[in-house]
Each structure stands twice: as structure tokens, then as C-alpha cells.
């Protein structure tokens, strides 16, 4: 509908430069430039390399997004930008860009929370989000379980990883198995030919003694060590490493914990909607397992398509659209980039 707000979203919190355009809940364009190839040889994202790439990519990415959406900056009602959490220097490029666009085009700017944007992006595919909902956000940079009461004003963190992010664990195990970076898609592919029950890897923070203090928290460091020990024992014995079985069993352990805790949060709080987002939500086993187990409890799982799960500008635009519709005031022009922005802050 033409009278719904037209929102531009800018994302630069990690290694993807994203610009998205949405009208209401309708995605008009989602342009992306990634510096992932520049980081591959380092086995992880190098912050300064990412920041330099954002500066080079922001103007052409904006150009592509506007062209694809068939709009100009003058048509836009507001500009939303990821203000945190993320890599400080990378965030700053996006925030400064958003302000440059806002000042030049005389538009309001909203500095928004990256994690809340991962939740909001689902509205582009599945429409308005029933509240309250539980959100599971899993990527290379974050692993969080949230209670979403009011996406426009604040979400309640229930738990988070106490060591590695879920996506980081995928990257490290991929490296151990000689698979490329980022590891998620390669583990997923290898695992399809493997037996998920071949090796019993540990499920972190699921024992009764851990649940008291860490019911909704995650830990993947013990799992990572267990996989490394198992693989190195094989290598020492001069036996071949069954890569597919290791990948499948590792992936099963990660998904088992993620889905188990997310559904526990739904049942305990009497909530019927689970949203999954972040790069790890693109994992095929996670999606399948969540849907199977949720169905048994009458819980609806909402997962956006893989292209919207990873970091992008559309998710930021989607959250911006939600904020404008909810009548939230825009940010001030001196809004800072906040690398440690808390989840309780949806916009600054």
C-alpha cells in the first residue's frame, strides 16, 4: 500500500554491507556487499578489514538498493541503521553514512539494535509478529534467547552463550575438519551424508546441575573441545577421520541444545510462537528439528528464508518500519554507535 511508510535500512555491524528498502511489511530491495572473502584467510572477521570494505561499499550498495526498489532518497520516510551491537569501527561507518543520507535528504534517522532487527525481518515473510514470542538468534557473533513482548520498545533477554557463539563453533569445527570458512554451510553439507547418532558429543549446560543457573544459556566450548579430542585421538591412532559422521554428530549436538532450550522457553512462558534468526538459522538441520519438535507442543516456528537470516539491510529496514508504525520517536543526530548495545534498547 502506497500510504505505508517507505523505510531504508543500513547494516554494517560485521562483514556485510547491507542496504534494504521496505514499504510497510513489503520488501522492495535488499542489496548486499560482503567482505567475507577478504577474511577467509584469517579464519575470522578482521575488524579493520571489514571497516575499510564498508567505506568502499556503502555508496554503490545504496545505489543498487534504490535502483532495484525504484525509489529515491527523497521518497523515503525514514532511514534506519544498525547502531549496535557489533564491531565498533564497522558500525561507525554505517551510522555516519545514515546520518550523511539523513542530513542531505532532510529525513529522520533511527539507530536500531541489530538483534531486534534479526527478529523484525521475519515480518517481511510472515507478516506481523504475534507478541509475546520467543526468539532464538544464532550466528557467528551472537547466540541469544529472547522474550519479545514489544518489539518496538524492548525485548527481554532470557539467556545467551557464556563462551563461543553457535556460528563460531561451526567455524572452529570446520577448520578442524579441513573445511573452508565460514564453516556453517560446509558442515551442513557434509552432515547430510553422515550419521547424527554416530558419536555422542556433549550437550552444554543441559545437565540438571547447570539448569538452575543457566537454564536458557548456551555453552559450546566443551563441545568444541570434545570434538577436537575425538578427532585428534583418531589421527594419533592413524585412523581416517569420518568427516561426515563428525559433522553430523556435532551439528546434532548444537541443534539439540538450541531447539531444546528455545522450546523450553516457549512452554514455560506459555508462548506459541518461536522465531529463529541469525546466520545459523540457515542450517537445514536446525530448521527441520525445530519444526518437528515444536509441532508436538503446538508451537509455531517462524524462520525467514536463509537470505534474510544472515546479516542484511532489509532486517534493519523492517525494524525501522515497525518503529515508525508504532510511533516511536527518531534518534538524535548525535546518536553513537554502541558496540555493546544491550538488548533492552531497541532504538536509541
Amino acid at each position: 500500500m502506497a500510504d505505508e511508510p517507505l523505510i531504508l535500512g543500513i547494516e554494517t555491524s560485521c562483514d556485510e554491507t547491507g542496504v534494504g528498502v521496505v514499504r510497510g511489511h513489503t520488501l522492495l530491495a535488499d542489496a548486499l556487499a560482503s567482505s567475507v572473502d577478504q577474511h577467509a584467510r584469517f579464519g575470522g572477521v578482521v575488524p579493520e578489514v571489514a571497516s575499510r570494505a564498508h567505506l568502499e561499499a556503502i555508496v554503490p550498495t545504496m545505489e543498487r538498493a534504490l535502483t532495484r526498489a525504484g525509489v529515491t532518497l527523497a521518497d523515503v520516510d525514514a532511514i534506519a541503521v544498525t547502531a549496535g551491537p557489533g564491531l565498533a569501527g564497522a558500525l561507525l561507518v554505517g551510522v555516519a553514512a545514515a546520518k550523511g543520507y539523513a542530513v542531505a535528504a532532510e529525513k529522520p534517522v533511527y539507530g536500531v539494535n541489530h538483534l531486534a532487527a534479526h527478529v523484525a525481518v521475519d515480518t517481511l515473510e510472515h507478516g506481523p509478529l504475534p507478541e509475546p514470542a520467543i526468539a532464538l538468534l544464532v550466528s557467528g557473533g551472537h547466540s541469544s534467547l529472547l522474550l519479545v513482548d514489544d518489539l518496538a520498545r524492548g525485548v527481554t533477554p532470557l539467556g545467551a552463550t557464556i563462551d563461543d557463539a553457535a556460528g563460531e563453533a561451526f567455524d572452529k569445527i570446520a577448520r578442524l575438519l579441513g573445511l573452508p570458512f565460514p564453516g556453517g554451510p560446509y558442515i551442513d553439507r557434509e552432515a547430510r551424508a553422515g550419521d547424527p547418532a554416530a558419536i555422542a558429543f556433549p550437550r552444554g549446560l543441559t545437565a540438571a546441575k547447570d539448569l538452575a543457573a543457566h537454564r536458557y544459556d548456551f555453552s559450546f566450548s566443551g563441545l568444541k573441545t570434545a570434538v577436537a579430542r575425538w578427532v585428534e585421538a583418531r589421527q594419533r591412532a592413524g585412523e581416517p577421520v569420518p568427516v561426515a559422521d563428525v559433522a553430523a554428530s556435532f551439528q546434532e549436538a548444537v541443534c539439540d541444545v538450541l531447539v531444546g532450550k528455545a522450546l523450553d522457553a516457549c512452554r514455560t512462558n506459555g508462548i506459541e510462537t518461536l522465531v529463529i534468526g541469525g546466520g545459523v538459522a540457515a542450517n537445514s538441520r536446525l530448521r527441520a528439528m525445530a519444526e518437528q519438535r515444536a509441532a508436538r507442543h503446538g508451537i509455531r516456528v517462524r524462520v525467514p528464508r536463509p537470505g534474510l537470516c544472515t546479516d542484511n539491510g532489509a532486517m534493519v529496514a523492517a525494524l525501522g518500519s515497525h518503529l515508525v508504525a508504532a510511533g516511536v520517536a527518531p534518534s538524535r543526530l548525535d546518536l553513537p554507535a554502541d558496540s555493546a548495545m544491550p538488548l533492552t534498547t531497541v532504538s536509541v
Partner: protein
């Protein structure tokens, strides 16, 4: 451009964030003059992202100008600490894109060395952190002879003396005055907005196409490549 010379006025936005001095200015460039109409400068090494956009907004408001009245943008390309430097360049690039006007880059040290060079060669320096300076040497007319470079103050001083430099200028020169051992000129301490516009004035008057605004980083990113098969176990 089909403009009668006597009527030629371009309203230019100048930004520089290569030093702790976050600068925005509105400058009028005519066929014969470069005149600063509004100027905001805040010295704060840690808040470039917060300060610059409100200052741009303020210099526009000070003169009653709208963004659409701008005809060009000039941005200091550094060298300077990367995170802050990028704020000015991304601001210039995005505003130029929206307004459809050219953005020109000028070496930020030139906006210290050019106005400071009064007949004798001068060393211009800004703080590069890690006990180093960004520096360049200018002749008596303000033309850059050497640089921009990054390095230890003593090494810069040695090269400067070989070029018969008699004075040093800029915040980096003040900070490392002892190591440089050169007499100091007090002004400008930071890149001068009027000088930035002056150094781009020929291109502005000619209506030259804008620059890609690539920062003068001078240093590679800090990044340690992970070894091919680093063990995951400690």
C-alpha cells in the same frame, strides 16, 4: 559551466575528521575568493561519529542554507587514525551521492602545511598514535615536497632537516616537539577548513568530476593470519 564569471558562487561544505579536531565548515567559492561563512570545530579524539553530523547541520543552519543549496563538498583524506577519519569521508561521500554534487578529496596535512608555509619550508605533522606522526614537508609556497608518511618523529625530523626545513607545525609537531627539535609555528594546529576549500578551489571552479574519497591510510590493517591447521585444543 555557462556561468558569468562575476556571478560565480559555489556554496561548499568542508569536513575533516583526520585529527582530534572534528571540523565542518560552509565556504563560499567565487571566481576570485574563498570565504568561510560558518565554522564548527570540536576537539575530541573519541567522538567523531557523534559530533560531525550535528556540526554539518549547524553550519547549514548558521547560514540559513538548505543541503540542496550546496554545490560541492571537500573532505580531508587524512592521513589520520582510521576510525575517525572514515567518519568524515563517509559523510562527504553519502551527502554527495544524495545531492548529486561532486566531493573532492584533499590531503589533510596540506591544510596544515599550506597555510603555515610563509616563505620557508615547513614540516606539518599530526598524531598517528603508537609514538608516531603522520607528516609531510612543504616548500616556502606551501607545495608538498615529501609525504604524506607515517613514522617516528626523529626519522621525520632527519628528513626535514635535509630539506632545509626551519619550522614544524600541527598538533603532531607540538606533541613531539622534543623529538623533532624544530621551532614550532602555533597555527594551524589542525587541518584548516578554509585551506581545504582553497586547495580544491580550482577543481570546484572548473566543475571537475568528484574523487572516490579513498582514505590515505598509510598503514596496513592489523591482522594476523590464522595458521593453516592451528590445533583447537590449548
Amino acid at each position: 559551466m555557462g556561468v558569468r564569471i562575476g556571478w560565480f558562487i559555489v556554496l561548499v561544505l568542508v569536513v575533516d575528521s583526520s585529527t582530534p579536531a572534528v571540523t565542518a565548515a560552509l565556504v563560499e567559492v567565487t571566481a576570485s575568493a574563498v570565504t568561510t561563512r560558518a565554522h564548527r570545530c570540536t576537539v575530541d579524539a573519541r567522538a567523531h561519529g557523534e559530533l560531525l553530523a550535528p556540526q554539518v547541520d549547524a553550519v547549514l543552519a548558521d547560514t540559513g542554507a538548505r543541503p540542496a543549496d550546496l554545490g560541492a563538498i571537500v573532505a580531508g583524506l587524512g592521513p589520520g587514525p582510521f576510525t575517525g577519519l572514515r567518519v568524515g569521508l563517509v559523510t562527504a561521500a553519502t551527502m554527495g551521492q544524495v545531492l548529486g554534487i561532486p566531493a573532492y578529496g584533499v590531503c589533510s596535512l596540506d591544510a596544515i602545511g599550506y597555510p603555515a608555509a610563509a616563505g620557508e619550508p615547513v614540516l606539518a605533522a599530526s598524531d598517528a598514535r603508537r609514538r608516531e606522526i603522520y607528516w609531510a614537508v612543504y616548500d616556502g609556497a606551501g607545495q608538498r615536497l615529501v609525504g604524506p608518511e607515517v613514522g617516528a618523529p626523529t626519522a621525520a625530523a632527519e628528513q626535514a632537516r635535509a630539506l632545509a626545513v626551519t619550522a614544524a607545525v600541527g598538533d603532531g609537531a607540538h606533541r613531539y616537539a622534543d623529538a623533532l627539535g624544530l621551532p614550532l609555528r602555533p597555527e594551524p594546529r589542525y587541518p584548516d577548513a578554509t585551506a581545504l576549500a582553497t586547495l580544491a578551489a580550482e577543481r570546484i571552479r572548473a566543475g571537475a568530476p568528484g574523487d572516490p574519497l579513498t582514505p590515505l591510510y598509510l598503514r596496513r590493517p592489523d591482522a594476523v593470519a590464522a595458521t593453516a591447521r592451528k590445533p583447537v585444543l590449548p
